[in-house]
Every structure is written in C-alpha cells, then in structure tokens.
C-alpha cells in the first residue's frame, strides 16, 4: 500500500502563521511516510491555492490530499470540490483544523506548532485509510406534510401549494388560524389581525393542492428524507363534513354553554357544539364530547333535531379515523404556549381578580371578543382609570425562562396604545427591564407611545398586592417596583394589571420532537441546523421548522420562516433526487453474529433483523451515520463509512506521534 499524499499548510494570512511555524510544519510533513509533496501557502482557499491541489493531483499523481487550515465546517466542501476537479474522489481528502483549534487559542508558538504537527500527522495517517465513496441518491416524494395551522404553517402550506405541490396541513384544533386569530391588532402597524389572516385561512381551505386535516394529530412517522409515511388520527367531530353546510343552526339551538378556555382565554363562553370563531376554517362545527349532555347523559340531541341538511349531518356514531399517506418532507410549525403566570404567585394572577394575562386582554380589546372591545375589569363593567402593564413575566428570569421572549415589549406597547385609544383619560404604566424594539418601524412605535404620555418605568416588578398602606391605595392593586432610573422603590396604585407572559415551547414539544426524531433544546424549542446560516432546517434531513416552535417570534418572522422552509422543500422537490453524504453504517453479514445489540441502539430504527439468516442489516436510507452501532458491535461487523475503525485508530496513532512509547520502543 503506497499512497501518495499531498499536504498543504495554509497561512491564512497571519491568522495561522502568526502562532504556528507553518514553514516548519510543511518541511516536517514532507519527511513523513507516504507524503509525496508538502507545501505551505498564503491562502489555500483562494482559487490559486485550490489550483495548487488540482495541479499536484494531475502532475504528481497524488492519491490522497490533506489540507491543514481552518475548520472543516468552513471549507471542507471547497477542498473536496478541488480534489474532484483534479480527478480525485472527494472523500480521499482530509482536513486538519490548525486555526480554530490551534493558532487562535494560544500565543505559545512552540506548543501551537507542536499541536499543528500532531493534527497534520493524524490527518495523514487517517487519509491513507480513506476509501472512495459515492454520495447516496434519494428520490423525493413531491408531497409535503405541514404540522400546525398557525400563521407559520399557513404561510408554508400556501407557498408550496401555489408552487404546484401537494400539502397535507394537520392542525389539532378544530380550526386553523392559531394564536394570530385570537389577536386584535398586530404591531406596529395596528393592522386588524383577523382582517389580514382570514383571507389566508380561506385560501388554505379552498386550495386544490391542500388537504386540510383539522381536529387531527400526527400519530406516527416512519421513513426518511424523500419518503416518509405518516399516520394521522382524525378525531371524531360528530359532524359529517360531506353534508354539513356550516349553517350554524345546530350551534344556535344547542342549549348548553360552557366557558371557553381556549379561544376566549376564559373570558367568554361557547356552546357545546361550536366553531371557535365565526371565520373558522373549516366551517364545520365540532361537538365537545366531554361537555355534551347527550354523550354524558344520553338525552338532548337538539343539534341533530334542528340540523336542516339531508341526510342529517350530526353523527353521534362517528369514530376517530386513522389516515395514512406518504410525503417527502415535513415542516413543523407547532407554535407556542403562553407562560402560566400562576407560577409567579407574587404577581397575583388567579388570586387578585383584576390581574389579566396578555391573551385575556387581546380577547377583551377585540371587537369580536367577549366584551365587544370594551376595556373593563373582571366585573365586566367598570372601566379602569389606571393600568399597569408588566413586561418579562416568566422571561429573562433564571427561575423560569432565561431567554428574552422577543415579542413582549412590542405587544405591551401595543396594549398601552390600545388603552389610550379606548380610555383616553386612563393612566398607563409600562414596567420593563429593557425596552427591546429591534424591528422595522418598532422603535418608531415606541416613540409614538412616549408621545402618548405612557408612563415608562424601568424596573422589573417585584410584586402586585392588594395590601393598602395609604388611603390612595385603598381598593387598588399596588404594583411595587424599583424605578431604576431614579433609584427609588415605587408603589403604583392601579385598577388593572396586565401581565405580558413569555412565549414558551409547547407543553408536549419534547414528545413531538421524539415523534419526528429531531432535536429539542433545553427550553423545549426545536433546534435548527445552524443558528445563523440554516435556521429552518433541522439536524434530521427532510424535517424543517418554522415559527415559534423554533423560538419566540412575531408574525413577520413566522411568515418569513414558513416561506423559507417551503422554499427549501420546493428546491428539493424540484431536484427530484438529492445526493446525501455517504457517512453511513453497513453490516458485514459474514461477521454478524446476529446478537441484535445494534437493533435497539439505533435511534432511527434503521437496523432490521433478518430472522431467516439471523443477521442484522442497516437500511442505508434510514441511517443518519451517527456510528453508535459501530461502536457497540461486539464482532466489529459494522463499518461506519468515512469513520471506520481503521481510520480512527490510525488517526489516534498519528495524533500521538510525538509521545514516547517505551513498550513500543523495546518491542
């Protein structure tokens, strides 16, 4: 085995050359076994640098290439392509990271140079064991699953459907629209939320390329990029969608009302057979089985009695359905939950009746909401003369959520504005830690509120209490806070307190991430492939994320992400086939003892066991290349391509080339 290795040491201007003696490394590398040529060059990633590699492959007949420069996450692709242009299989290349991992972490030239040699030696030893590999072609099914029918999911679905691709949109509530449908106005333009959202909802409902599955949940996901099999449970609505005209007579005639804790945030009521709101899409109502008198006590059937359609659309016998279909890609847009402010007892929510959450207030100011847009106290009639809005409830706080929830400053400003608009004489206090308004037109909106004479108090509220200490506090809620700009504790007596709770990951986001086999961060938000350069892809091929399930964000950002995820999917569908990194495991049937240890270890269920031959097999398309099975196989029957045992063992030997080994010396 005599490979001809070319070694290239990059100066990266002075980035590497300042701390690593590159000439010395290059000279020394030239003396190593198998090395045919060793060079150092100012910028290996420049076209001239790349040409050096190409020419050496052609002229000196190199069979392996090592570049010592920056992180492979920067330029591995660049140099692989250069090798390919020179006529070498791109996988016969290896990179040594002597910048991020070496020259930038120390000023000690001797140590840095020594480490550079070790990393280069490791790459040389490794690369001679490399095998030519071919990328794996995978066909892409042109259908797409979008999970979640909020504004992010709607944007994603419409984008793809308009491009001519079929979309399954699955939503667990009876209607699409998500949180945005509950809002009154959107900041900073104060557009009516429903007015801009409902046309999109209707478009989804009517689009020939969209199969809309509401009151449904994804139960099972099998497969891989290009070819997922999805099982969806379509819960029984007890209303036949084929015949229902959505006339609403059943809702009108239903004799039972219950508090609507979902759409109206507990402020309003709905019937037991209901549509969350008049513009709901689809228009079909749903029966709330838990509260339906017929289901609980066997009597009533008022809805059925009055249903005017023929045949009758109310079907008490309806059962859940399981639908199965194939898709090539999945976009998750499962949204967020609002932080539960009862977790901060000192803010009094649930105990002091005139403390409201942001969502309650949104419903209250909504003209279509339970108070027809009137701002009132919990008694539903008196109007507050003073209101305090508390920012950062459950965010920027290590006791709850450490992150900034991104949207609360802006919606709190919006609330202040809406109160000024409805109650011009009311005093409005905004208590904030820092005012965060980084968006187009956002800072201008803040200034508008300053003009409107909102009282801004810089300080995180300590507590809200009804314990009065002076006559002007009697009968009021007292907000105790340090006004940090004057360095004084203040007590603000107000009639109403609005809490601005954080956006949190959905309560079941971990379960969802396991279902779709992708990652979730500490806070429960889905993890993007790269926080800057790949914000809508995930570490699992074929699964993309959009909207607040990835982190707190506002409407424009959610729309942008929804559309971006769709663009990614559309480009894959347009390619028809994609090439995947061939870093995959495979099992040598001869060596496999059939012990099945690997079967359960695989996080992707990519290993099947053939009972007849008593051997396991890796389904290449399912394998993601983590190598867990390779490390576990007691018979060394599994090979992880590009990370084989011999490659890694040689790398270890190389990286420790300079360490004295007495037992080897004496052997």
């Amino acid at each position: 085995m005599s490979e001809k290795v070319g070694v290239y040491i990059c100066h990266c201007g002075t980035n590497i050359a300042k701390t690593v003696d590159v000439e010395e490394v290059s000279r020394w590398a030239g003396e190593q076994d198998s090395v045919e040529v060793s060079r150092d060059y100012k910028f290996m990633c420049s076209s001239l640098g790349q040409e050096l590699i190409e020419e050496d492959i052609k002229e000196k007949g190199l069979t392996r290439v090592v570049v010592a420069s920056c992180s492979p996450h920067m330029h591995e692709k660049t140099f692989r392509t250069a090798c390919e242009r020179g006529g070498l299989n791109p996988f016969l290349f290896e990179m040594a990271n002597i910048r991020e991992h070496d020259s930038w972490i120390t000023e000690d030239i001797t140590m840095a140079t020594q480490k550079a040699k070790a990393l280069v030696k490791a790459a040389i030893e490794r690369v001679v064991h490399h095998k030519p590999l071919e990328p794996l072609p995978v066909d892409i099914n042109p259908n797409t699953l979008v999970v979640g029918g909020g504004i992010a999911g709607i944007s994603a679905a419409l984008e793809l459907a308009n491009a001519g691709y079929h979309v399954y949109l699955v939503e667990r509530e009876p209607t699409i629209g998500g949180h945005m449908a509950q809002l009154d106005k959107t900041f900073p333009t104060l557009d009516c939320s429903a007015c801009i959202l409902t046309p999109k909802m209707v478009e989804v409902g009517q689009h020939p390329n969209i199969t809309l599955l509401t009151w449904s949940e994804v139960e099972k996901v099998d497969g891989y990029l290009g070819n997922f099999t999805i099982n969806v449970r379509k819960k029984a609505r007890y209303v036949n969608e084929e015949t229902c005209t959505g006339c609403g007579i059943c809702i009108e005639k239903c004799p039972y009302k219950i508090v609507d804790n979902v759409f109206e945030a507990g402020l309003g009521v709905r019937k037991v057979i209901y549509r969350p709101f008049p513009q709901a899409v689809p228009k079909y109502p749903v029966i709330d089985k838990e509260n339906c008198v017929f289901f609980q006590r066997g009597k009533c059937k008022a809805c059925q009695l009055f249903c005017p359609t023929e045949p009758n659309s109310i079907d008490f016998e309806q059962e859940d359905e399981i639908l199965t279909f194939q898709v090539g890609n999945i976009i998750l847009a499962t949204g967020y939950d609002l932080f539960d402010p009862t977790r901060i007892p000192q803010y009094g929510y649930g105990r002091l009746s005139n403390v409201f959450t942001s969502l309650e207030f949104e419903r209250m100011v909504n003209a279509a909401g339970p108070t027809s847009g009137k701002v009132v106290l919990r008694d539903m009639k008196s109007q507050p003369e003073s209101v305090a809005i508390i920012h950062c409830v459950g965010s920027r706080d290590k006791n709850y959520n450490e992150y900034c929830s991104n949207v609360c400053c802006m919606y709190s400003l919006k609330f202040a504005h809406l109160i000024h608009e409805r109650l011009p004489d009311a005093e409005v206090y905004n208590c904030y830690i820092d005012m965060r308004t980084p968006g187009k037109g956002y800072e201008e909106f803040y200034h508008r509120l300053l003009d409107e004479d909102t009282h801004f108090i810089r300080g995180k509220v300590a507590e809200v209490t009804d314990a009065a200490r002076s006559p002007d506090e009697e009968g009021k809620l007292v907000v105790q806070v340090e006004d940090t700009l004057i360095g004084m504790q203040r007590r603000l007596p107000v009639d109403m307190v609005i809490l601005s709770p954080a956006m949190e990951a959905r309560y079941d986001s971990r379960k969802v991430s396991q279902l779709f086999k992708m990652g979730c961060d500490f806070d429960g938000f889905f993890v993007e492939r790269h926080p800057k350069l790949d914000p809508v892809a995930t570490m699992t091929e074929g699964i993309l994320i959009a909207g607040a399930c990835q982190g707190p964000k506002d409407v424009p950002a959610s729309v942008a992400q929804g559309s971006a995820a769709s663009a990614r999917v559309a480009s894959l569908i347009a390619q028809g086939t994609v090439m995947m990194e061939p870093v995959r495991a495979s099992i040598n049937e001869e060596l496999c003892s059939g012990c099945r240890i690997c079967n359960n270890l695989c996080p992707y269920n990519a290993i099947t066991f053939h009972e007849d031959q008593e051997v396991s097999e890796v389904i290449t398309a399912l394998c993601q290349g983590c190598g867990t099975c390779v490390a576990a196989c007691p018979s060394s029957a599994i090979t992880g391509a590009h990370f084989t045992n011999s490659q890694l063992m040689s790398e270890i030997e190389g990286i420790l080339w300079d360490v004295k080994k007495p037992e080897l010396a004496s052997a």
Binding site: S71, F522, L648, V659
Partner: protein, 156 residues
C-alpha cells in the same frame, strides 16, 4: 527531557456540538491550553471504548470525550450511550489503576466555546498535577506484557 511536563490529552469531539464549540472558542479567540488534540467523530456515541484504550496505550495522559448536552443530541440520544460507556470505562480504568481524572466526559453545545475551553484548561491542570500516565508502568507493570492488576474486586 528536562522540560516541565506538558500533558497530552486526546479529545473525541462530536461533530455537531463540541467540535463546533471548539470552533467557536477559536473564533472568539478564547485562549486555553493547547494540550488537547482533537479527533472529530460524528457523535460521542461513536466513541468505541477501544479508542480510549488505544489513546492511553499510544501515550496519551488523558482522554476527553465531549458531546452534546443530554436531550440535545443530534442523533437523539447517542450522548446517553456515550455516557453509559463512559461509566463502564471509568470503572474499568479504576481497576487498571488509572486515576479518574484521566478520562473525562464533557457536555458542550455548539454555543458553549467557553465551557469547552474551561473544561480543557481544568483537565490539563488536573493531569499536570497527576503527572505522566506511563501506561507501560501502570498497567503492564514493567514490560513483559503481563497484566499486573489481575485480582481486582469489581465494585459497584
């Protein structure tokens, strides 16, 4: 060699979190001990116990395995498998008479350059205090290849 002892640590860094954490530490110009020489693996779950033993046998004074935080593994739970192997390995190394500090498992996410740098610094200092491993002396007991510690009790 009369110079001061410089420990050599072999680091197995997972491609998605810890390798990127090391990239970030470099990009942020965080200075830390250059004593850790890293090998990229796709997942900490790929680290075969053999690799660790091989590194010690080849003369490493310490081995660091670094992966994503539990629950944040790119491959769902490869890091948990790494953790289990690490526990077993530690037990085995103890029986071979190798100090605990010589094998360390670190969780560092892609954004935690400082965490990784700190861990490397700390480990380097610990091993500097311990001195060279001398696998040959410690484990093989003098050179003829026979294992010295044969009757070690397996403790829970």
């Amino acid at each position: 060699m009369s110079e001061a002892f410089e420990p050599v640590i072999v680091g197995f860094l997972c491609n998605w979190c810890s390798y990127r954490a090391a990239d970030l530490a470099g990009t942020a110009r965080i200075h830390y001990a250059p004593n850790m020489r890293d090998i990229r693996v796709m997942c900490s779950g790929r680290v075969d116990p053999q690799f660790v033993l091989k590194a010690f046998r080849e003369g490493a004074d310490g081995v660091m395995i670094a992966g994503c935080h539990p629950g944040e593994c790119h491959y769902i739970e490869g890091n948990i498998k790494a953790l289990r192997r690490y526990m077993l390995l530690k037990q085995m190394l103890r029986q071979l008479g190798i100090e605990e500090e010589r094998l360390q498992l670190v969780w560092a996410s892609a954004s935690e350059g400082t965490v990784l740098a700190e861990a490397v610094n700390q480990m380097t200092e610990q091993i500097r205090t311990l001195g060279p491993l001398n696998w040959h002396e410690t484990v093989l007991g003098g050179g003829n290849g026979r294992v010295k510690h044969q009757t070690v009790e397996v403790t829970q």
